[in-house]
Symmetry: none
Subunit: 214 residues, 4 copies
DNA sequence: TATGAATGAGGGTTCATTCAT
DNA sequence: GATGAATGAACCCTCATTCAT
C-alpha cells in the first residue's frame, strides 16, 4: 500500500483569510497595507456592518477583521476589548444618525412636509433598514450595558429635541415613541404597510394647529 | 470516536475498569433525579428566565440546564437544537402573554378605564420588565429567523385585534405601535416617566367619542 | 410588547424520528409495528446498509434505528452493545458473501469461464460496490478487533478453498490477494479500468494448463 | 455567549474577579510552552501516529493534541477543521512513503534483487505495519472524501510508474494490485506467511525475461 | 417485553484575549 | 507599532448506555 507522490506536494499550507495560517509562499507579497491611518475608523464601520448582518452576538473580532480585511491582531490592537469596540461603534452610529436626522428637516416648513418627512423616515429604503437594525441592536445591548445606556439616553434626548422644535416637547415624546414602534413593525412586517396608512397614523398624532399653513 | 474499539484501546480516562462511572467522590452529591414529567415545560420556562437575564446570545444550553438544574444532556435530549428550543420558548411566551393581555381588558367599560389599563400595562412592575425584555429579544431574534417572524406576525395581529374591539382597527394599529415604543423607552429610561405623562400620551391617542361615557 | 396568540399554539411538541420526542397527538396511532419477529435480522441488515453509507464510525445506534424505523431502545434491546451488533452484522455479511462467491462458480468448466467469472466479480455493479465497501470496512475493523479478526481469518480461508478447487492451493492464495487488490483499486479508481485489462491481469495469473480445454 | 456583558453579569465560574485565569493550583504545572516553530508539522506527525493507533474515527482533535502535548486550541488553530488536518496528514504520509518506495529500488539490478526487495517490502517490520495501516486507513477514507481520492489517485499512478521502470506498465499494474492485496492479508494474518511463499507468489508474477541476468 | 427518558462523556469548533516577535 | 501564534473557556451537538415503566 505504500506509494509515491509527485514529491513536493507542498502540504497545502496556505489558507484562507480566517486569521489562522499566514500564506508563506516566498516572494508573494502579502497584505501590502501598512501605514494605514483611519484604520481604526474603518474597523468601526466594519463593526457596524457586521452588527447589521449578524447581530451583536455575531460581531466578533474575527468577523469584523475579515470584513475590513485586516489581521485579527489589528482589531485587538486598536481596541482594549470587544465591549470597548462595541461602545465606540455604537457611538459612531449615534453620531451619524443624529446628523442625518437633523438634516432631514432642513426644508420642512409646513405640517404636510413634516409628516411627509417622517413617513419617508419610516419607509426609507436600505439605509433605513440598516439604521433600524442597528437602532434595535443598540436598544437591546443598552439594556444590559450601562455605558451604552447612557449613550442611548443622550441620543433619545437629542432626537426628541429635534422633533420638539417643530411640534413641541409633549408631542415630541409621543412622536418619538410612535416612530420607534412603527419602525420596529416596519422592520418585521411580512409585507410593508402602505404609505397612506403610515401617513394617516403619523398625521393624526401631530397637532396641525400652530403651523404656518394652519 | 473509537466507540467500538475492543479490549486494549487504552483511551479511557477517569473510568473504572468495567467502563462504569466511578463511585462518587466524597462530598459530590450524586444527582438521583429520574422520572421527571413535564421536565420539557420546565426547561422552556427556564429558557425564558435565562433569556430575560442574559439575552438571546446568553441563552445557551448550559445556562438553561443550570437554571432548571438538569444535566446538559437533558436539554439537548428534549430539543433537536437550540434554535428549536428558542422557538418553542418564544411560542410559550406568546401563549402566556396572550391570555394576560386579553384578561386585562375584562373589566373595561369606559374610556378612562381603557386608558388606565394601558397605563398600567406600560408601567407594570417586575412582571412588566420581564415581559418587555422578552418581547424585545423576541423582536430582534425574529429579525433573523423566519420561523420566529411568522410567530411574531400572528402575535401582532392578535393583539391588534384585541385593541380593535375597543378603539377600532385604525386606532388599534396606532396604539399598538405607540405601546411598543413606550415600553421600549420605559425599559431604557434612566428614571421612569411619571404616570400622568403616559396617561396623557395614551389618552390623546384614543378617540374618546363612541364610549359609553361620551 | 405583550401580545396575544391563537391561544393553543401547541408548543410544537411533535418531532421527527430522531429518537427524542414521541409524537403525542391523541388518537394518532403511532408506530403500529408491534409483534415483529426477525426484527433483529432487519436491524442487522440495516446496520450493513448504514455501514456502507457512513462507514464504521457512522454506524451508530441512532442511524441504524432510523434506517429500520424502529425505536432507539429496540436496537439496544436486541444487542448487548454496539460492538456486539457490529460483529453480528459482519458475520451476516460473511455468510451472505460466502454463498454468493460459491454459487458464482457453479457453471464454470473451462479456464476462460473461470477468468470471466472473476472479471465479473471485480467489475460487478452496485452489488459489487456494496460488498466491496463492506469488505473494506470489515478488514479495517478487524485490524483492531480480535473477534472480527478471527471471523475474517475464517472467511479468507473459505474463499481460498473455493478458488483452490479450480486452480490449486498456491494459485488460490495469489489470486485471492490479487482480487483483493483489484477490487480495492476498482473501488477507488477515478474512471473504471476496461474489462480487457482486468481480464488480461487475471488471465496471466491463472495457469491455463490442467483445464479441460488445455 | 454574553461575551460583552458588562459588570454585573455574574456568569463567570472559576475565575478571579478581574476575569483572568486564577493562579495555578499547587501541583498543577502550568504549561510554559510558547514559541514553537514547526509545531504544525509535529501535529501532522502526531496525527499519523494517532491514525495508526486508533484509526480515522479515533483521530480526534483531542487525541492528537494529547499526543503532541499541545493544548487543544493549538490544533484547531493550525487547521481549519479536522477534515483539513486529515488531508494534510495523509499528504504528508504519501510524501514520506514516496521517497521510501523510490529509494528501495536504488540498488536493484537483477530480477532476483527486484523480487527480494518486494518481499522485504511486504514483510517489513514495525515500519511496515505502520505504513500498511496508514495506507489502509487512507484507502477507506478516500472512499468518502473526493479530496483524498484525488491524492490517492496520484499516489497510485506514481507508484505504478516506479514499478513500470523495472517490469513494464502492464506488469506494474498487476504487481501493484498484488502487493496491495498481500499487504492487506499480511496485516491481518493470524500468523505471518513464510517469506518463501511470498517470494514465490511475487516471483511468478514478474516476467524474468528481459533482465540482465536472463 | 419493549421503549421513552435520562445522563455523562466526549467530539468539532469558535472565541476573547495574551504574548513574543 | 503591528501581528501571527498560542491558549483555555465555552459552545452546540451526538453518542452509548442505563433505567423506570
Amino acid at each position: 500500500m505504500d506509494r509515491i507522490a509527485p514529491s513536493s506536494s507542498s502540504c497545502g499550507r496556505d489558507r484562507t483569510e480566517d486569521g489562522r495560517q499566514a500564506p508563506v509562499k516566498a516572494g508573494t507579497e502579502r497584505r501590502p497595507r501598512r501605514h494605514d491611518p483611519d484604520r481604526k475608523t474603518r474597523i468601526l464601520d466594519a463593526a457596524l456592518d457586521v452588527l447589521v448582518e449578524h447581530g451583536v452576538a455575531g460581531a466578533t473580532h474575527r468577523h469584523i477583521a475579515a470584513h475590513v480585511d485586516v489581521p485579527l491582531g489589528s482589531v485587538t490592537y486598536h481596541f482594549a476589548n470587544l465591549a470597548d469596540l462595541q461602545v465606540q461603534a455604537f457611538a459612531r452610529y449615534v453620531e451619524q444618525q443624529t446628523s442625518v436626522f437633523e438634516s432631514v428637516f432642513d426644508e420642512v416648513e409646513t405640517h404636510e412636509q413634516f409628516v411627509e418627512v417622517l413617513v419617508d423616515f419610516v419607509h426609507g429604503g436600505p439605509a433605513r433598514h440598516r439604521s433600524a437594525v442597528l437602532g434595535f441592536e443598540f436598544h437591546l445591548a443598552a439594556l444590559r450595558n450601562p455605558e451604552l445606556r447612557a449613550l442611548m439616553h443622550d441620543w433619545t434626548k437629542t432626537s426628541q429635541e429635534v422633533l420638539a422644535r417643530y411640534i413641541g416637547a409633549d408631542d415630541a415624546v409621543r412622536m418619538d415613541a410612535l416612530l420607534e414602534g412603527m419602525i420596529m413593525h416596519a422592520l418585521l412586517a411580512i409585507e410593508p404597510e402602505p404609505r397612506e396608512v403610515t401617513r394617516a397614523v403619523i398625521g393624526r398624532t401631530v397637532d396641525p394647529s400652530g403651523w404656518p399653513g394652519a
